[in-house]
Symmetry: none
Subunit: 483 residues, 2 copies
């Protein structure tokens, strides 16, 4: 079993390099002085190239061939299965194409930033066109026989998703949510809550402490765009941001906490293997959305949040706080959307990227298609491309097939939460007291521990007993739509 | 010249990996939550192993062979010369040993921290023994024919140093300084200065700003054991520490600034080559000591420091501040030693590590040997191992042969400073106004820009016109010893 040992040792090496990459990216976004950017880009490039080289090397191919037909334990069988799948995909991509994509992504990021700042879509069109072409070329390379280009791209973020299934789910979302969004727009209930930054900071610290965030194993920092880094199993780093108005810092902190908790509760036996991380973007997003939507936005947990804000000198009644947290009203901007209308932003992006990749939509026509979609889905007029199709970085950096996971995360979270409550009983009494241990355990057992051993859809079926459904999410948001 | 291109590309890759390693170490000491240590040790081990593999690969050997006899430009000749030297050393070390050392180093760091906190040498002895054994094994691997194990270790930090030369220089230091230390102890002039931490922090920020430290290109953080990280040419990270008494935070900040400035002023043409970093630990230490001893401890610069402390609400006359900064009195702790007795701390460590490596001193006997040495050289009784042999991290992380550079740095700094003043004229008027541009330029021109193109002793000779001498340092400290 020499080949198995070698394989596992290479997987450990790749896991270590991934941890270092995450550290370098965390540092870049949280700690690095601005002028360090040029050196960091080169360092990250070198790290990515080395990791790719080691992940696609002939020796790895050889070890997997030697293991063909070997009798393996259950865990090793999964390690080999997923390693074969990853290697097959990676080796289909010519080095030149990988390099081109990396370059186009970096250039696209620059071009997008400038275009958004100047509200100038035309200046961005060339970079976007190049990234669409390269994504298509990449998708064609990695696609299995009979698989569409777009579906092949989806596999990078969420292995096994089917375009048809997404069209069905997102079709229901559009049909059910768009009328609710229109109602909310007309009733115009938006109430921004002004909370002093110091009180927010105090409440973020206090709330995270309640759910198990300790300084010996976590960091909590500030980032312009909140994200989470899992640098080691016991080294979790969440970020949030503080604005003058709203409760975004608390919601973002609990959202990022959900990502971190997922990675921390993966079966320790999978550590430093190719299975020792979250299985997909949509399951990851379901974990963050579960804490954001079903914990932070519950009436019961509002009592905890109100107490924590109170300790920071900002007095608010739990009922009023909860009302602010579930307040709905369509927004032009995805990242500040309410929980009800959020998926509609994704439906739009899914429709457009599918058409872009399929050649049914020209890059030059994206702004018009965007305006039409926002009118149809959210009932809003888009006043500028900066507040329209230029608001997200994803397409400019070549990430096509990523957006769906944001909406899927909302659906999966709702379905998991209904199952959890059916099995554990109502959670309100526990949440009111800030007790989340049973929730953490249930998630660890049903979702987290599997790591990459189960893909998105099989995991959902195993955890909830059903295929992915839209209804739990619709039941979750229904009360928010009531006048 | 395909081989030259390949060689230079490999050197860039290794420089990037070195930057990432420094980042991972900086993070471990400044940012990482404690429980991240286990994963970090594995990550650093993998990084070291990969870097070692790429630095010793057959292809590199082949490129260097192909370049044999090729007509090269001056810079490429140096790149090839130093690459040959590094390769010869590196290929003598088995990959497994390199990995073991990296692991033992990370684990030793943790063990040392705990042992020092608990004043428990026995708890540290195992990690120390392992590091001594690994250092010995490593030294035996890399030694040239006829070279002692210890001298082979020295070469890692200071290429070309000779044990005999160190014994001679350190012999003179012990002979000249120990009596002065005894006098200082008996006259008991030590006047601790109590400076509120907030005033120290304000003064550190203000003073560093005066010498060019900006937030866009630097970080200033707190570390238990101050150090500097140069993660990119424009990403310098100094650390300091704040205690209730004394001016250590200011001295440490300027000390670390000297290290950082060295790396920043290396010829940009050497960036991402094998020559693009400081040439040796002793030259590095001379740069930090120059700012600590010859700038921060000058009567003129005391006016700047007093003004910065004053801005933080701590009023002190420049003369009184200067007196406190050059006050001598033997201390148990190396890093808070005065400039006169400081080298005696190094003489002790040099004696002990030479004996440890040579097998003439057992790890279990280190505490007793330490007590004897402190009595003989500094005339002090050591009350605990935490204030004795547990005070430094170096041995616990496997760094043997490193300590001598601290004392050499003091000597080199004094010799450089005498040359600088002979050439630029008296510096006092400039220092009084906090103007250091001419000093920075002189150091850049004479010392920094060369990177690794010149080794320690040739660099000293080139910069000062003389071999390394003890006398400039003795002249520098002579006034401090006067009653």
């Amino acid at each position: 079993m020499h080949a198995l040992e070698q394989l596992r040792s290479r997987m450990s090496e790749l896991a270590d390099l991934a941890g270092l990459e995450m550290l370098a990216q965390w540092d870049q976004r949280v700690m690095m002085p601005g002028e360090g950017a040029a050196a960091r880009a080169l360092q990250l490039g070198t790290l990515a190239r080395l990791a790719h080289e080691r992940a696609t090397a002939d020796d790895l191919h050889q070890w997997l061939a030697e293991l063909d037909g070997e009798a393996l334990g259950e865990l090793d069988r999964d390690i080999v299965r997923v390693a074969r799948r990853d290697l097959r995909r990676a080796r289909r991509v010519p080095g030149e194409l990988a390099l081109e994509r990396a370059r186009a992504s970096a250039e696209g990021q620059e071009s997008w930033q400038l275009a958004r700042a100047n509200d100038d879509f035309a200046a961005f069109a060339r970079a976007l066109r190049r990234n669409v072409e390269l994504a298509r070329a990449y998708g064609e390379c990695v696609a299995d026989a009979g698989q569409s280009t777009y579906e092949a791209l989806l596999d990078d973020y969420d292995f096994g998703l089917r375009t048809e299934e997404l069209q069905r789910l997102f079709g229901v979302l559009a049909q059910e949510l768009a009328p609710l969004a229109a109602d909310a727009r007309d009733s115009c209930r938006h109430r921004p809550l002004e909370v002093p930054v110091a009180a927010q900071q105090r409440a973020v610290r206090g709330t995270l402490r309640r759910v198990g965030v300790t300084s010996s194993s976590w960091r909590v920092d500030v980032a312009a765009h909140p994200f989470t880094a899992w640098i080691g199993r016991r080294d979790s780093r969440v970020t949030t941001r503080y604005g003058e108005e709203g409760l975004e810092s608390l919601l973002a902190a609990l959202h990022e906490y959900g990502h971190a908790l997922y990675e921390r509760q993966i079966d320790p036996a999978l550590e430093r293997t190719n299975l020792g991380c979250g299985t997909s973007m949509s399951i990851h997003e379901s974990q963050s959305k579960l804490w954001e939507n079903h914990v932070a936005r519950s009436p019961a947990f509002a009592e905890v949040l109100a107490a924590e804000l109170g300790a920071g000198g900002f007095t608010i009644a739990p009922g009023e706080l909860h009302a602010a947290l579930v307040d709905v009203g369509p927004s032009l901007i995805r990242v500040s959307a309410d929980p009800l209308t959020y998926p509609l932003h994704i439906v739009l992006r899914f429709e457009l990227e599918l058409a872009l990749l399929g050649g049914d939509l020209a890059v030059a026509d994206v702004p018009d298609a965007w305006r039409e979609g926002v009118r149809r889905l959210l009932g809003l007029e888009v006043p500028s491309d900066a507040l329209g199709c230029l608001q997200d970085a994803h397409w400019g950096t070549g990430s096509f097939g990523y957006f769906p996971s944001y909406a899927l995360g909302c659906l999966i979270a709702a379905q998991l939460w209904e199952t959890l409550e059916a099995e554990l009983g109502p959670t309100q009494e526990h949440l009111r007291r800030g007790e989340v241990a049973a929730i953490q355990r249930w998630l660890g057992e049903r979702v987290h521990r599997h790591g990459r051993r189960l893909d998105t859809m099989p995991l959902i079926r195993r955890a909830t007993g059903h295929a992915l459904q839209v209804e739990p999410f619709l039941r979750f948001v229904a009360p928010f739509a009531e006048p």
